[in-house]
Amino acid sequence: MRELNLSKRIGPAMIHLFFWCFTIVSLVPFILIFMVSISSEDSIAQKGFSLFPNEISFGAYQFLFNDFTEIAKAYGVTIVATLVGTAVSLLITALFAYPISRAQLPFRRTISFYLFFTMLFGGGLAPWYITYVNMLGMKNTIFSMIIPNLLMGAFNVFLMRSFFASTIPESVIESATIDGAGELKIFFKIVVPLSLPIMATIGLFNTLAYWNDWYNCMLFIDNPDLYNIQYLMTKTLTNIQFLLAKSNSTAQVGELLAKMPRESVRMALAMIGVAPLLFAYPFFQKYYISGITSGAVKG
Protein backbone atom coordinates (compact mmCIF):
# COMPACT_ATOMS: atom_id res chain seq x y z
CA MET A 1 0.00 0.00 0.00
CA ARG A 2 2.74 2.40 0.94
CA GLU A 3 4.68 1.51 -2.14
CA LEU A 4 1.68 2.34 -4.32
CA ASN A 5 1.30 5.76 -2.74
CA LEU A 6 4.94 6.51 -3.31
CA SER A 7 4.81 5.61 -6.98
CA LYS A 8 1.71 7.73 -7.33
CA ARG A 9 3.66 10.69 -6.07
CA ILE A 10 6.88 9.95 -7.92
CA GLY A 11 5.19 9.83 -11.33
CA PRO A 12 3.91 13.42 -11.33
CA ALA A 13 7.15 14.64 -9.75
CA MET A 14 9.13 13.09 -12.58
CA ILE A 15 6.87 14.72 -15.13
CA HIS A 16 7.37 18.12 -13.53
CA LEU A 17 11.11 17.60 -13.35
CA PHE A 18 11.18 16.67 -17.03
CA PHE A 19 9.11 19.71 -17.93
CA TRP A 20 11.24 22.05 -15.86
CA CYS A 21 14.28 20.82 -17.76
CA PHE A 22 12.41 21.44 -20.99
CA THR A 23 11.37 24.90 -19.84
CA ILE A 24 14.98 25.74 -19.09
CA VAL A 25 16.08 24.47 -22.50
CA SER A 26 13.42 26.66 -24.14
CA LEU A 27 14.40 29.79 -22.25
CA VAL A 28 18.16 29.59 -21.67
CA PRO A 29 19.18 30.77 -25.15
CA PHE A 30 17.18 33.97 -24.66
CA ILE A 31 18.65 34.51 -21.22
CA LEU A 32 22.12 33.91 -22.62
CA ILE A 33 21.92 36.60 -25.29
CA PHE A 34 20.44 38.97 -22.73
CA MET A 35 23.29 38.32 -20.29
CA VAL A 36 25.87 38.79 -23.06
CA SER A 37 24.24 42.07 -24.05
CA ILE A 38 24.77 43.40 -20.51
CA SER A 39 28.23 41.92 -20.00
CA SER A 40 31.18 44.26 -19.90
CA GLU A 41 33.90 43.86 -22.49
CA ASP A 42 36.39 42.61 -19.88
CA SER A 43 33.95 40.05 -18.68
CA ILE A 44 33.49 38.65 -22.20
CA ALA A 45 37.25 38.56 -22.72
CA GLN A 46 37.70 36.56 -19.51
CA LYS A 47 34.67 34.30 -19.37
CA GLY A 48 33.34 34.39 -22.92
CA PHE A 49 29.57 34.40 -23.37
CA SER A 50 28.37 33.45 -19.95
CA LEU A 51 25.09 33.26 -18.09
CA PHE A 52 26.89 34.70 -15.08
CA PRO A 53 29.11 37.56 -16.27
CA ASN A 54 31.75 38.94 -13.91
CA GLU A 55 30.75 42.49 -14.52
CA ILE A 56 27.56 44.08 -15.77
CA SER A 57 27.59 47.00 -18.14
CA PHE A 58 24.94 48.71 -20.21
CA GLY A 59 27.57 50.12 -22.56
CA ALA A 60 26.25 48.18 -25.53
CA TYR A 61 22.77 49.67 -25.18
CA GLN A 62 24.23 53.14 -24.64
CA PHE A 63 26.26 52.69 -27.79
CA LEU A 64 23.19 51.67 -29.80
CA PHE A 65 20.97 54.40 -28.38
CA ASN A 66 23.61 57.01 -29.17
CA ASP A 67 22.93 56.63 -32.84
CA PHE A 68 19.50 55.11 -32.98
CA THR A 69 18.50 56.31 -36.46
CA GLU A 70 19.38 53.08 -38.27
CA ILE A 71 17.44 50.91 -35.85
CA ALA A 72 14.52 53.33 -35.78
CA LYS A 73 14.39 53.37 -39.58
CA ALA A 74 14.43 49.59 -39.75
CA TYR A 75 11.69 49.41 -37.13
CA GLY A 76 9.69 51.93 -39.13
CA VAL A 77 9.87 49.73 -42.23
CA THR A 78 8.86 46.65 -40.24
CA ILE A 79 5.94 48.42 -38.58
CA VAL A 80 4.59 49.90 -41.82
CA ALA A 81 4.88 46.57 -43.66
CA THR A 82 3.25 44.72 -40.75
CA LEU A 83 0.32 47.12 -40.31
CA VAL A 84 -0.47 47.60 -43.99
CA GLY A 85 0.25 43.97 -44.86
CA THR A 86 -1.90 42.53 -42.10
CA ALA A 87 -4.84 44.82 -42.84
CA VAL A 88 -4.85 44.26 -46.60
CA SER A 89 -4.20 40.57 -46.17
CA LEU A 90 -7.11 40.15 -43.78
CA LEU A 91 -9.40 42.02 -46.13
CA ILE A 92 -8.66 40.06 -49.29
CA THR A 93 -8.57 36.75 -47.41
CA ALA A 94 -12.04 37.40 -45.99
CA LEU A 95 -13.36 38.70 -49.32
CA PHE A 96 -12.23 35.50 -50.99
CA ALA A 97 -13.23 33.10 -48.22
CA TYR A 98 -16.78 34.34 -47.72
CA PRO A 99 -18.18 33.76 -51.24
CA ILE A 100 -16.71 30.23 -51.44
CA SER A 101 -18.35 29.44 -48.10
CA ARG A 102 -21.78 30.09 -49.66
CA ALA A 103 -23.34 27.01 -51.23
CA GLN A 104 -25.28 28.94 -53.89
CA LEU A 105 -22.26 30.70 -55.42
CA PRO A 106 -21.97 29.96 -59.15
CA PHE A 107 -18.53 28.58 -60.16
CA ARG A 108 -17.88 27.80 -56.52
CA ARG A 109 -15.95 24.61 -57.22
CA THR A 110 -13.89 26.23 -59.96
CA ILE A 111 -12.91 29.17 -57.76
CA SER A 112 -12.03 26.89 -54.84
CA PHE A 113 -9.92 24.70 -57.08
CA TYR A 114 -8.16 27.76 -58.51
CA LEU A 115 -7.09 28.54 -54.96
CA PHE A 116 -6.43 24.95 -53.92
CA PHE A 117 -4.15 24.19 -56.84
CA THR A 118 -1.66 26.75 -55.53
CA MET A 119 -1.15 24.43 -52.55
CA LEU A 120 -0.25 21.54 -54.82
CA PHE A 121 2.10 23.07 -57.31
CA GLY A 122 4.34 26.12 -57.55
CA GLY A 123 6.67 27.56 -60.12
CA GLY A 124 9.62 27.81 -57.76
CA LEU A 125 11.77 30.71 -56.67
CA ALA A 126 13.33 31.88 -59.94
CA PRO A 127 10.20 32.45 -62.07
CA TRP A 128 8.46 33.95 -59.04
CA TYR A 129 11.34 36.33 -58.40
CA ILE A 130 11.54 37.37 -62.04
CA THR A 131 7.79 38.01 -62.10
CA TYR A 132 8.08 40.46 -59.24
CA VAL A 133 11.33 42.13 -60.27
CA ASN A 134 11.11 42.30 -64.06
CA MET A 135 7.39 42.38 -64.71
CA LEU A 136 6.20 44.35 -61.71
CA GLY A 137 9.32 46.40 -60.86
CA MET A 138 9.11 45.63 -57.16
CA LYS A 139 12.83 45.79 -56.45
CA ASN A 140 13.71 48.30 -53.72
CA THR A 141 10.15 49.28 -52.91
CA ILE A 142 8.31 48.80 -49.65
CA PHE A 143 5.64 46.85 -51.58
CA SER A 144 8.11 44.01 -52.05
CA MET A 145 7.93 43.41 -48.30
CA ILE A 146 4.12 43.42 -48.33
CA ILE A 147 2.90 41.71 -51.48
CA PRO A 148 5.09 38.71 -52.39
CA ASN A 149 3.85 35.44 -50.86
CA LEU A 150 2.65 36.95 -47.61
CA LEU A 151 -0.54 38.63 -48.76
CA MET A 152 -2.93 35.72 -49.13
CA GLY A 153 -2.25 32.07 -48.42
CA ALA A 154 -4.58 29.24 -49.37
CA PHE A 155 -4.34 27.74 -45.89
CA ASN A 156 -5.71 30.87 -44.19
CA VAL A 157 -8.49 31.22 -46.75
CA PHE A 158 -9.65 27.65 -46.14
CA LEU A 159 -9.46 28.17 -42.39
CA MET A 160 -11.68 31.22 -42.70
CA ARG A 161 -14.04 29.54 -45.15
CA SER A 162 -14.75 26.67 -42.77
CA PHE A 163 -15.35 29.17 -39.99
CA PHE A 164 -17.88 31.08 -42.11
CA ALA A 165 -19.56 27.87 -43.25
CA SER A 166 -19.93 26.53 -39.72
CA THR A 167 -20.81 29.65 -37.71
CA ILE A 168 -22.81 32.02 -39.89
CA PRO A 169 -26.39 30.73 -39.92
CA GLU A 170 -27.91 30.56 -43.38
CA SER A 171 -31.17 31.94 -41.99
CA VAL A 172 -29.52 35.19 -40.90
CA ILE A 173 -28.25 35.81 -44.44
CA GLU A 174 -31.64 34.88 -45.91
CA SER A 175 -33.63 37.19 -43.70
CA ALA A 176 -31.21 40.05 -44.38
CA THR A 177 -31.63 39.46 -48.12
CA ILE A 178 -35.42 39.55 -47.72
CA ASP A 179 -35.05 42.83 -45.85
CA GLY A 180 -33.34 44.15 -48.97
CA ALA A 181 -29.70 44.19 -47.83
CA GLY A 182 -27.13 43.74 -50.63
CA GLU A 183 -24.35 41.14 -50.45
CA LEU A 184 -21.69 43.71 -49.58
CA LYS A 185 -23.80 45.12 -46.79
CA ILE A 186 -24.49 41.64 -45.43
CA PHE A 187 -20.77 40.88 -45.51
CA PHE A 188 -19.58 44.02 -43.73
CA LYS A 189 -22.52 44.53 -41.36
CA ILE A 190 -23.35 40.93 -40.40
CA VAL A 191 -20.68 38.42 -41.38
CA VAL A 192 -17.60 40.36 -40.30
CA PRO A 193 -18.93 41.28 -36.83
CA LEU A 194 -19.91 37.63 -36.26
CA SER A 195 -16.46 36.43 -37.31
CA LEU A 196 -14.19 38.45 -35.04
CA PRO A 197 -12.57 35.34 -33.47
CA ILE A 198 -11.31 34.01 -36.81
CA MET A 199 -10.33 37.52 -37.91
CA ALA A 200 -8.24 37.87 -34.75
CA THR A 201 -6.60 34.48 -35.25
CA ILE A 202 -5.64 35.06 -38.86
CA GLY A 203 -4.68 38.66 -38.12
CA LEU A 204 -2.31 37.33 -35.47
CA PHE A 205 -0.79 34.77 -37.85
CA ASN A 206 -0.29 37.49 -40.44
CA THR A 207 1.18 39.96 -37.97
CA LEU A 208 3.78 37.41 -36.89
CA ALA A 209 4.60 36.48 -40.48
CA TYR A 210 5.18 40.11 -41.46
CA TRP A 211 7.04 40.96 -38.27
CA ASN A 212 9.41 38.01 -38.67
CA ASP A 213 9.98 38.39 -42.40
CA TRP A 214 13.54 38.81 -43.60
CA TYR A 215 13.30 36.67 -46.73
CA ASN A 216 11.52 39.19 -48.95
CA CYS A 217 13.81 41.94 -47.70
CA MET A 218 16.87 39.85 -48.54
CA LEU A 219 15.55 39.08 -52.02
CA PHE A 220 14.20 42.42 -53.09
CA ILE A 221 15.96 45.17 -51.14
CA ASP A 222 19.47 46.49 -51.86
CA ASN A 223 18.95 49.94 -50.41
CA PRO A 224 20.02 49.96 -46.72
CA ASP A 225 17.46 52.67 -45.96
CA LEU A 226 14.70 50.17 -46.65
CA TYR A 227 16.05 47.30 -44.55
CA ASN A 228 13.60 45.98 -42.01
CA ILE A 229 14.63 45.08 -38.49
CA GLN A 230 15.04 41.34 -39.19
CA TYR A 231 17.33 41.98 -42.13
CA LEU A 232 19.30 44.62 -40.25
CA MET A 233 19.89 41.93 -37.63
CA THR A 234 20.94 39.42 -40.31
CA LYS A 235 23.45 41.87 -41.75
CA THR A 236 24.86 42.74 -38.35
CA LEU A 237 25.29 39.11 -37.32
CA THR A 238 27.72 38.41 -40.14
CA ASN A 239 29.31 41.84 -40.20
CA ILE A 240 29.23 44.02 -37.12
CA GLN A 241 30.74 46.96 -39.02
CA PHE A 242 27.57 47.11 -41.05
CA LEU A 243 25.80 49.07 -38.32
CA LEU A 244 28.45 51.77 -38.46
CA ALA A 245 29.27 51.84 -42.14
CA LYS A 246 25.89 53.20 -43.12
CA SER A 247 25.89 56.52 -41.37
CA ASN A 248 29.58 57.31 -40.90
CA SER A 249 32.63 58.11 -42.99
CA THR A 250 35.44 55.56 -43.24
CA ALA A 251 37.64 57.43 -40.74
CA GLN A 252 34.80 57.63 -38.23
CA VAL A 253 34.05 53.92 -38.65
CA GLY A 254 37.59 53.00 -37.63
CA GLU A 255 37.39 55.21 -34.58
CA LEU A 256 33.96 53.94 -33.53
CA LEU A 257 34.98 50.35 -34.13
CA ALA A 258 37.86 50.72 -31.71
CA LYS A 259 35.55 52.07 -29.02
CA MET A 260 32.69 49.68 -29.59
CA PRO A 261 32.09 46.68 -27.30
CA ARG A 262 31.51 44.49 -30.36
CA GLU A 263 30.12 41.25 -29.05
CA SER A 264 27.74 42.82 -26.58
CA VAL A 265 26.54 45.33 -29.18
CA ARG A 266 25.62 42.50 -31.48
CA MET A 267 23.61 40.77 -28.78
CA ALA A 268 22.07 44.04 -27.64
CA LEU A 269 20.79 44.53 -31.18
CA ALA A 270 19.33 41.01 -31.07
CA MET A 271 17.59 41.90 -27.79
CA ILE A 272 16.21 45.14 -29.23
CA GLY A 273 15.00 43.19 -32.25
CA VAL A 274 13.27 40.42 -30.33
CA ALA A 275 12.06 42.37 -27.28
CA PRO A 276 8.69 43.56 -28.68
CA LEU A 277 7.73 40.00 -29.50
CA LEU A 278 8.85 38.67 -26.12
CA PHE A 279 6.91 41.37 -24.26
CA ALA A 280 3.80 40.89 -26.36
CA TYR A 281 3.91 37.09 -26.16
CA PRO A 282 2.27 36.65 -22.72
CA PHE A 283 -0.69 38.66 -23.97
CA PHE A 284 -1.27 36.88 -27.26
CA GLN A 285 -0.10 33.31 -26.49
CA LYS A 286 -3.60 32.23 -25.48
CA TYR A 287 -5.09 33.28 -28.81
CA TYR A 288 -2.16 31.89 -30.73
CA ILE A 289 -2.49 28.47 -29.12
CA SER A 290 -6.23 28.31 -29.74
CA GLY A 291 -5.59 29.46 -33.31
CA ILE A 292 -3.11 26.71 -34.17
CA THR A 293 -5.19 24.02 -32.50
CA SER A 294 -8.42 25.02 -34.23
CA GLY A 295 -6.56 25.07 -37.54
CA ALA A 296 -5.07 21.65 -37.02
CA VAL A 297 -8.15 19.88 -35.74
CA LYS A 298 -10.31 21.03 -38.63
CA GLY A 299 -7.53 20.99 -41.24
Binding site: F22, F49, L95, I111, Q285
Partner: protein
Protein backbone atom coordinates in the same frame (compact mmCIF):
# COMPACT_ATOMS: atom_id res chain seq x y z
CA UNK B 1 -30.05 25.53 -72.49
CA UNK B 2 -32.05 25.89 -69.30
CA UNK B 3 -28.89 25.18 -67.37
CA UNK B 4 -27.17 28.04 -69.11
CA UNK B 5 -30.10 30.34 -68.43
CA UNK B 6 -30.05 29.40 -64.75
CA UNK B 7 -26.31 29.99 -64.60
CA UNK B 8 -26.73 33.39 -66.19
CA UNK B 9 -29.43 34.28 -63.70
CA UNK B 10 -27.27 33.06 -60.81
CA UNK B 11 -24.26 35.05 -61.96
CA UNK B 12 -26.42 38.14 -62.13
CA UNK B 13 -27.98 37.45 -58.76
CA UNK B 14 -24.67 36.76 -57.03
CA UNK B 15 -22.53 39.22 -58.96
CA UNK B 16 -21.40 41.00 -55.80
CA UNK B 17 -20.25 37.73 -54.26
CA UNK B 18 -18.32 36.94 -57.44
CA UNK B 19 -16.81 40.42 -57.52
CA UNK B 20 -15.57 40.00 -53.95
CA UNK B 21 -13.26 37.20 -55.07
CA UNK B 22 -11.67 39.32 -57.81
CA UNK B 23 -8.80 40.82 -55.72
CA UNK B 24 -7.84 37.34 -54.53
CA UNK B 25 -8.06 35.91 -58.04
CA UNK B 26 -5.79 38.64 -59.39
CA UNK B 27 -3.34 38.15 -56.55
CA UNK B 28 -3.12 34.39 -57.06
CA UNK B 29 -2.68 34.96 -60.77
CA UNK B 30 0.34 37.19 -60.17
CA UNK B 31 1.86 35.40 -57.21
CA UNK B 32 1.23 31.80 -58.28
CA UNK B 33 0.02 31.31 -61.82
CA UNK B 34 2.44 33.55 -63.74
CA UNK B 35 5.41 31.88 -61.97
CA UNK B 36 3.91 28.48 -62.83
CA UNK B 37 3.99 29.49 -66.45
CA UNK B 38 7.53 30.77 -65.83
CA UNK B 39 8.81 27.22 -65.37
CA UNK B 40 9.48 27.25 -69.11
CA UNK B 41 12.65 29.07 -68.00
CA UNK B 42 13.97 25.64 -67.02
CA UNK B 43 14.13 24.90 -70.74
CA UNK B 44 15.70 28.22 -71.71
CA UNK B 45 19.01 30.05 -71.54
CA UNK B 46 17.69 33.02 -69.67
CA UNK B 47 19.18 36.45 -70.13
CA UNK B 48 17.82 39.67 -68.68
CA UNK B 49 17.76 41.50 -72.01
CA UNK B 50 15.46 39.08 -73.83
CA UNK B 51 13.34 38.25 -70.75
CA UNK B 52 11.21 35.17 -70.20
CA UNK B 53 9.71 35.03 -73.67
CA UNK B 54 12.64 36.19 -75.79
CA UNK B 55 15.45 34.07 -74.31
CA UNK B 56 16.65 31.22 -76.55
CA UNK B 57 15.54 27.64 -75.93
CA UNK B 58 17.97 25.23 -74.33
CA UNK B 59 16.01 21.99 -74.42
CA UNK B 60 16.91 19.67 -71.53
CA UNK B 61 20.39 21.18 -71.12
CA UNK B 62 19.72 22.70 -67.70
CA UNK B 63 18.53 19.37 -66.35
CA UNK B 64 21.45 17.56 -67.94
CA UNK B 65 23.94 19.92 -66.25
CA UNK B 66 22.12 19.63 -62.95
CA UNK B 67 22.05 15.84 -62.90
CA UNK B 68 25.53 15.40 -64.34
CA UNK B 69 27.15 17.22 -61.44
CA UNK B 70 27.19 15.91 -57.92
CA UNK B 71 24.90 18.76 -56.85
CA UNK B 72 21.61 17.05 -57.66
CA UNK B 73 22.59 14.01 -55.61
CA UNK B 74 23.87 16.00 -52.62
CA UNK B 75 20.91 18.35 -52.36
CA UNK B 76 18.39 15.54 -52.72
CA UNK B 77 20.18 13.37 -50.18
CA UNK B 78 20.53 16.22 -47.66
CA UNK B 79 16.92 17.32 -48.00
CA UNK B 80 15.58 13.78 -47.67
CA UNK B 81 17.76 12.72 -44.75
CA UNK B 82 17.23 15.88 -42.74
CA UNK B 83 13.48 15.65 -43.19
CA UNK B 84 13.38 11.96 -42.27
CA UNK B 85 15.21 12.65 -39.02
CA UNK B 86 13.11 15.77 -38.33
CA UNK B 87 9.84 13.90 -38.89
CA UNK B 88 10.81 10.94 -36.72
CA UNK B 89 12.32 12.91 -33.87
CA UNK B 90 9.58 15.55 -33.81
CA UNK B 91 6.93 12.84 -33.78
CA UNK B 92 8.45 10.93 -30.88
CA UNK B 93 9.22 14.00 -28.78
CA UNK B 94 5.99 15.84 -29.40
CA UNK B 95 3.69 12.87 -28.81
CA UNK B 96 5.58 12.08 -25.59
CA UNK B 97 5.28 15.66 -24.40
CA UNK B 98 1.60 15.80 -25.34
CA UNK B 99 0.93 12.62 -23.35
CA UNK B 100 2.76 14.01 -20.34
CA UNK B 101 1.04 17.41 -20.50
CA UNK B 102 -2.22 15.50 -20.40
CA UNK B 103 -1.17 14.03 -17.04
CA UNK B 104 -0.88 17.47 -15.48
CA UNK B 105 -4.14 18.28 -13.78
CA UNK B 106 -3.38 21.88 -12.81
CA UNK B 107 -4.67 23.98 -15.73
CA UNK B 108 -2.49 27.01 -14.97
CA UNK B 109 0.75 25.03 -14.85
CA UNK B 110 -0.18 23.07 -17.95
CA UNK B 111 -0.80 26.38 -19.76
CA UNK B 112 2.51 27.74 -18.57
CA UNK B 113 4.43 24.76 -19.95
CA UNK B 114 2.60 24.91 -23.26
CA UNK B 115 3.27 28.56 -23.89
CA UNK B 116 6.91 28.27 -22.83
CA UNK B 117 7.51 25.37 -25.21
CA UNK B 118 5.84 27.32 -27.99
CA UNK B 119 8.02 30.39 -27.55
CA UNK B 120 10.83 29.17 -29.85
CA UNK B 121 8.26 28.62 -32.58
CA UNK B 122 7.21 32.27 -32.86
CA UNK B 123 10.62 33.88 -33.26
CA UNK B 124 12.27 34.37 -36.63
CA UNK B 125 15.17 32.27 -37.90
CA UNK B 126 17.34 35.38 -37.68
CA UNK B 127 16.93 35.40 -33.92
CA UNK B 128 17.56 31.65 -33.85
CA UNK B 129 20.80 32.28 -35.73
CA UNK B 130 21.84 34.73 -33.00
CA UNK B 131 20.97 32.24 -30.28
CA UNK B 132 22.98 29.47 -31.97
CA UNK B 133 25.87 31.88 -32.52
CA UNK B 134 25.97 32.68 -28.81
CA UNK B 135 26.51 28.99 -28.10
CA UNK B 136 28.84 28.08 -30.96
CA UNK B 137 31.00 31.15 -31.57
CA UNK B 138 34.56 29.81 -31.66
CA UNK B 139 36.16 32.42 -29.42
CA UNK B 140 33.51 33.33 -26.86
CA UNK B 141 30.68 30.83 -27.38
CA UNK B 142 29.25 29.13 -24.33
CA UNK B 143 29.94 25.60 -25.61
CA UNK B 144 33.64 26.11 -26.31
CA UNK B 145 34.16 27.91 -23.00
CA UNK B 146 32.49 25.06 -21.11
CA UNK B 147 34.51 22.44 -23.01
CA UNK B 148 37.64 24.29 -21.98
CA UNK B 149 36.57 24.70 -18.37
CA UNK B 150 35.16 21.24 -17.70
CA UNK B 151 37.21 18.99 -19.96
CA UNK B 152 40.22 21.25 -20.67
CA UNK B 153 39.47 20.65 -24.33
CA UNK B 154 40.47 23.00 -27.11
CA UNK B 155 37.61 24.90 -28.67
CA UNK B 156 36.02 23.52 -31.81
CA UNK B 157 35.64 25.79 -34.80
CA UNK B 158 31.94 25.00 -35.22
CA UNK B 159 31.37 27.25 -38.20
CA UNK B 160 34.31 25.69 -40.04
CA UNK B 161 33.50 21.98 -39.63
CA UNK B 162 30.65 20.62 -41.76
CA UNK B 163 30.55 17.27 -39.94
CA UNK B 164 28.87 18.67 -36.81
CA UNK B 165 26.05 20.42 -38.61
CA UNK B 166 23.67 17.53 -39.15
CA UNK B 167 23.48 17.21 -35.35
CA UNK B 168 23.29 20.93 -34.73
CA UNK B 169 20.49 21.45 -37.24
CA UNK B 170 18.50 18.51 -35.90
CA UNK B 171 18.73 19.93 -32.38
CA UNK B 172 17.84 23.43 -33.51
CA UNK B 173 14.88 22.17 -35.50
CA UNK B 174 13.59 20.11 -32.58
CA UNK B 175 14.05 23.05 -30.23
CA UNK B 176 12.07 25.30 -32.54
CA UNK B 177 9.22 23.02 -33.57
CA UNK B 178 8.56 20.35 -30.93
CA UNK B 179 6.50 22.75 -28.79
CA UNK B 180 4.26 23.53 -31.74
CA UNK B 181 3.59 19.90 -32.63
CA UNK B 182 3.08 18.81 -29.05
CA UNK B 183 0.34 21.42 -28.65
CA UNK B 184 -1.39 20.09 -31.76
CA UNK B 185 -1.21 16.51 -30.48
CA UNK B 186 -2.32 17.63 -27.03
CA UNK B 187 -5.39 19.26 -28.59
CA UNK B 188 -6.37 15.99 -30.18
CA UNK B 189 -5.83 14.14 -26.86
CA UNK B 190 -8.18 16.54 -25.05
CA UNK B 191 -10.79 15.71 -27.67
CA UNK B 192 -10.96 12.09 -26.49
CA UNK B 193 -14.16 11.19 -24.65
CA UNK B 194 -13.50 11.06 -20.88
CA UNK B 195 -15.78 8.02 -20.48
CA UNK B 196 -13.10 5.72 -21.88
CA UNK B 197 -10.77 6.66 -19.04
CA UNK B 198 -13.50 6.39 -16.41
CA UNK B 199 -14.36 2.89 -17.58
CA UNK B 200 -10.68 1.93 -17.68
CA UNK B 201 -10.09 3.26 -14.15
CA UNK B 202 -13.01 1.23 -12.83
CA UNK B 203 -11.53 -1.84 -14.49
CA UNK B 204 -8.28 -1.07 -12.70
CA UNK B 205 -6.15 -0.16 -15.73
CA UNK B 206 -2.91 1.60 -14.82
CA UNK B 207 -1.92 5.01 -16.22
CA UNK B 208 0.53 3.32 -18.54
CA UNK B 209 -2.13 0.91 -19.82
CA UNK B 210 -4.52 3.81 -20.38
CA UNK B 211 -1.88 5.64 -22.37
CA UNK B 212 -0.92 2.74 -24.59
CA UNK B 213 -4.38 1.18 -24.95
CA UNK B 214 -6.65 4.23 -25.12
CA UNK B 215 -4.85 7.49 -25.84
CA UNK B 216 -2.36 6.38 -28.47
CA UNK B 217 -4.79 4.25 -30.51
CA UNK B 218 -7.37 7.04 -30.46
CA UNK B 219 -4.97 9.73 -31.69
CA UNK B 220 -3.42 7.36 -34.23
CA UNK B 221 -5.44 8.77 -37.16
CA UNK B 222 -4.13 12.27 -36.34
CA UNK B 223 -0.56 10.97 -36.02
CA UNK B 224 -0.77 9.13 -39.33
CA UNK B 225 -2.39 12.04 -41.14
CA UNK B 226 0.12 14.64 -39.94
CA UNK B 227 3.04 12.33 -40.63
CA UNK B 228 1.87 11.54 -44.14
CA UNK B 229 1.41 15.23 -44.86
CA UNK B 230 4.93 15.87 -43.57
CA UNK B 231 6.23 13.07 -45.79
CA UNK B 232 4.53 14.67 -48.79
CA UNK B 233 6.71 17.76 -48.35
CA UNK B 234 9.84 15.74 -47.66
CA UNK B 235 11.66 17.43 -50.56
CA UNK B 236 10.99 20.92 -49.21
CA UNK B 237 13.15 22.43 -46.53
CA UNK B 238 12.93 25.40 -44.24
CA UNK B 239 15.17 27.87 -46.07
CA UNK B 240 15.84 29.93 -42.94
CA UNK B 241 17.06 26.94 -40.96
CA UNK B 242 19.58 25.94 -43.60
CA UNK B 243 20.64 29.43 -44.64
CA UNK B 244 20.44 31.69 -41.58
CA UNK B 245 21.45 29.27 -38.83
CA UNK B 246 24.76 28.23 -40.49
CA UNK B 247 25.16 31.97 -41.25
CA UNK B 248 25.51 31.30 -45.00
CA UNK B 249 29.01 29.90 -44.41
CA UNK B 250 30.72 28.50 -47.50
CA UNK B 251 32.64 25.84 -45.58
CA UNK B 252 29.40 24.32 -44.31
CA UNK B 253 27.70 23.91 -47.68
CA UNK B 254 28.43 20.15 -48.08
CA UNK B 255 26.20 19.31 -45.12
CA UNK B 256 23.83 22.27 -45.06
CA UNK B 257 22.91 22.65 -48.72
CA UNK B 258 19.34 21.58 -49.48
CA UNK B 259 17.26 21.95 -52.62
CA UNK B 260 15.88 25.29 -51.44
CA UNK B 261 19.26 26.83 -50.63
CA UNK B 262 20.64 25.48 -53.90
CA UNK B 263 17.80 27.10 -55.87
CA UNK B 264 18.49 30.41 -54.11
CA UNK B 265 22.25 30.31 -54.51
CA UNK B 266 22.09 29.21 -58.16
CA UNK B 267 19.89 32.18 -58.96
CA UNK B 268 21.20 35.05 -56.85
CA UNK B 269 24.79 34.09 -56.22
CA UNK B 270 25.73 32.36 -59.51
CA UNK B 271 23.11 34.11 -61.64
CA UNK B 272 22.18 30.82 -63.32
CA UNK B 273 18.44 31.30 -63.71
CA UNK B 274 17.94 28.27 -65.97
CA UNK B 275 19.64 25.87 -63.55
CA UNK B 276 17.81 27.36 -60.58
CA UNK B 277 14.44 27.00 -62.30
CA UNK B 278 15.27 23.44 -63.32
CA UNK B 279 16.09 22.47 -59.72
CA UNK B 280 12.94 24.21 -58.50
CA UNK B 281 10.81 22.42 -61.09
CA UNK B 282 12.35 19.09 -60.14
CA UNK B 283 11.33 19.80 -56.54
CA UNK B 284 7.81 20.98 -57.44
CA UNK B 285 7.06 17.97 -59.62
CA UNK B 286 8.29 15.50 -57.00
CA UNK B 287 6.23 17.27 -54.31
CA UNK B 288 3.16 17.26 -56.54
CA UNK B 289 3.39 13.50 -57.03
CA UNK B 290 4.12 12.85 -53.36
CA UNK B 291 1.18 14.93 -52.17
CA UNK B 292 -1.22 13.06 -54.45
CA UNK B 293 0.09 9.74 -53.13
CA UNK B 294 -0.02 10.91 -49.50
CA UNK B 295 -3.54 12.22 -49.90
CA UNK B 296 -4.76 8.95 -51.33
CA UNK B 297 -3.22 7.18 -48.33
CA UNK B 298 -4.75 9.63 -45.86
CA UNK B 299 -8.16 9.24 -47.47
CA UNK B 300 -7.97 5.48 -47.00
CA UNK B 301 -7.19 5.86 -43.30
CA UNK B 302 -9.34 8.76 -42.29
CA UNK B 303 -11.52 10.34 -44.91
CA UNK B 304 -12.20 13.52 -42.97
CA UNK B 305 -8.59 14.58 -42.70
CA UNK B 306 -7.82 14.14 -46.40
CA UNK B 307 -6.91 17.36 -48.16
CA UNK B 308 -9.16 16.62 -51.13
Amino acid sequence: MTKLVKLKRDVKKYKWLLLMTVPGIIYLFINNYIPMYGVILAFKNYNYVDGIWGSPWAGWDNFRFLFNTEDAYIITRNTLLYNLVFITLNLILSVTIALLINEIKDKVISRFYQSTFLLPHIISMVVVAYLVFSFLNAENGLVNRLLLKWFSMDGISWYGEPKYWPFILVIVNAWKSVGYWSIIYFASIIGIDKEYYEAATIDGASKWKQMTRITIPLIMPVIITLTLLAVSTILRSDFGLFYQVPMNTGALIPTTQTIDTFVYRAMLQSGDVGMSTAAGLYQSVCCFVLILVANTAVRRINKQSALF
